[in-house]
């Protein structure tokens, strides 16, 4: 159906404020451009709109700004109510994504990450017989007091099984518990380290890219 010429003119007139502000989409801006070329009266309207816009900006710019007390109230609340990031925000941060940008992408990325972590966990648990003997035991089950430095570690999602195995062997380390929340408890070496030795050991263990995070657990 052909649009009524009067309606079309009214619609174009109604779009002029956004045309003047440059906030029309390309399609509507083109319609206004074409109408302006054919209807001189629209040009007069547009001139008035520019005048109104300039004065609206001038009026608002004279209104000043809030005092520092406004920010002080915000800050006091932020300090009194520290935010705990939501699980989604933490996950988004972990995956290097913006949580609000695309929930579908985040969901797929989360699912993919979960699969990687599960596969990695299954693979690393498979190392247990090699590192601790033929049956799985936790450290608390050992008959004699366990010696060595206890650390908690999470591995990079792309760490390969053989890399983890080689890294454990290199550092005389054994998995004694995990995974729990993607973290493993390891015992490293065969003596209780001094604080300085423990710090040096943690620094050494953290050097490899297959370790995402390492913490003392003693």
């Amino acid at each position: 159906m052909t649009p009524d010429p009067e309606d079309e003119m009214d619609e174009i007139e109604a779009l002029l404020p956004w045309y003047a502000a440059g906030t029309l989409d390309a399609r509507d801006a083109k319609r206004v451009d074409e109408a302006l070329a054919n209807r001189p009266e629209l040009g007069a309207s547009l001139a008035l709109i520019h005048e109104d816009r300039d004065e609206t900006i001038a009026l608002n710019e004279r209104l000043g700004a809030p005092s520092g007390a406004a920010w002080a109230r915000v800050l006091a609340t932020a300090e009194a109510e520290p935010r705990k990031p939501s699980p989604f925000a933490r996950l988004a941060s972990l995956l290097g994504l913006r949580a609000e940008a695309n929930p579908t992408r985040l969901a797929w990325a989360a699912a993919a990450a979960a699969v990687v972590i599960l596969l990695q966990a299954a693979a690393i648990v498979a190392l247990l017989p090699d590192t601790r003997g033929s049956s799985y035991r936790t450290a608390s089950e050992t008959a004699s007091p366990a010696l060595g430095a206890n650390v908690i570690v999470s591995f990079a999602p792309d760490a390969r099984l053989e890399e983890v195995g080689a890294w454990l062997k290199e550092h005389d380390a054994a998995i004694v518990d995990g995974p729990r929340g993607g973290m493993y408890r390891l015992r490293v070496g065969d003596k209780i380290p001094s604080p300085d030795e423990r710090a040096a050991l943690l620094a050494e263990l953290a050097k490899t890219p297959i370790v995402r995070m390492i913490l003392p657990a003693d």
Partner: protein, 185 residues
């Protein structure tokens, strides 16, 4: 390159106060002015600014990224301004009347004596109804699209266009009453 508002909101979601301060620094003045034009009280407008950013801190996860952060902030500010106006109305204070009293020195008849077209037009802009002031400010000062104004005000896009058209008409009538014949509508 400066971080986008979306990046700052991402950091706010993770509890970063410096990101909140950066977002505040970018938007607090315009939020204040938008609120002030609605509530006509600097103290109330300042309270609204604080409340908007406290809401951002508490509810940053509610920002869905479907619009600009400034649109979201203006929508929060508007809700707070209208809640305040409703409470004041319940308390018996008619804000439009109060505004008219406050603006008396700048009404078109008084300003007419100043013979400055700019001053006259600004007085006419202040003389518009709250509904008309709001849409004019959002389009001309805050550079909001039809869609964004609809989101902020909570009305269909068609209503935004109609409201803007009537606001312009009313402005021309006020200008004519103040001695400026604009030849439109």
């Amino acid at each position: 390159m400066a971080e986008s508002d979306g990046d700052l909101l991402e950091r706010i979601r993770a509890g970063d106060q410096r990101a909140l301060q950066a977002l505040y620094g970018r938007h607090h003045v315009k939020i204040f002015r938008f609120a002030l034009r609605l509530v006509h009280s600097e103290a109330s407008a300042e309270d609204i600014v604080s409340e908007v950013f406290i809401d951002v801190w508490r509810n940053a996860t509610n920002f869905e990224g479907r619009s600009e952060a400034s649109t979201w902030l203006l929508a929060i500010a508007r809700n707070k301004a209208y809640s305040l106006l409703r409470r004041k109305k319940e308390d018996g204070l008619d804000e439009e009347m109060a505004a008219a009293i406050e603006d008396k020195a700048d009404n078109p008849e008084v300003v007419l004596q100043k013979k400055s077209k700019g001053e006259l037009l600004r007085a006419c802009l202040s003389g518009l109804s709250r509904e008309h002031r709001e849409v004019i400010d959002l389009v001309y000062y805050h550079d909001k699209s039809v869609e964004e104004v609809a989101l902020i005000v909570g009305v269909p896009e068609g209503t935004v266009k109609t409201r803007m058209f009537h606001a312009r008409k009313k402005l021309s009538q006020l200008a004519q009453a103040a001695g400026i014949d604009r030849g439109w509508p």
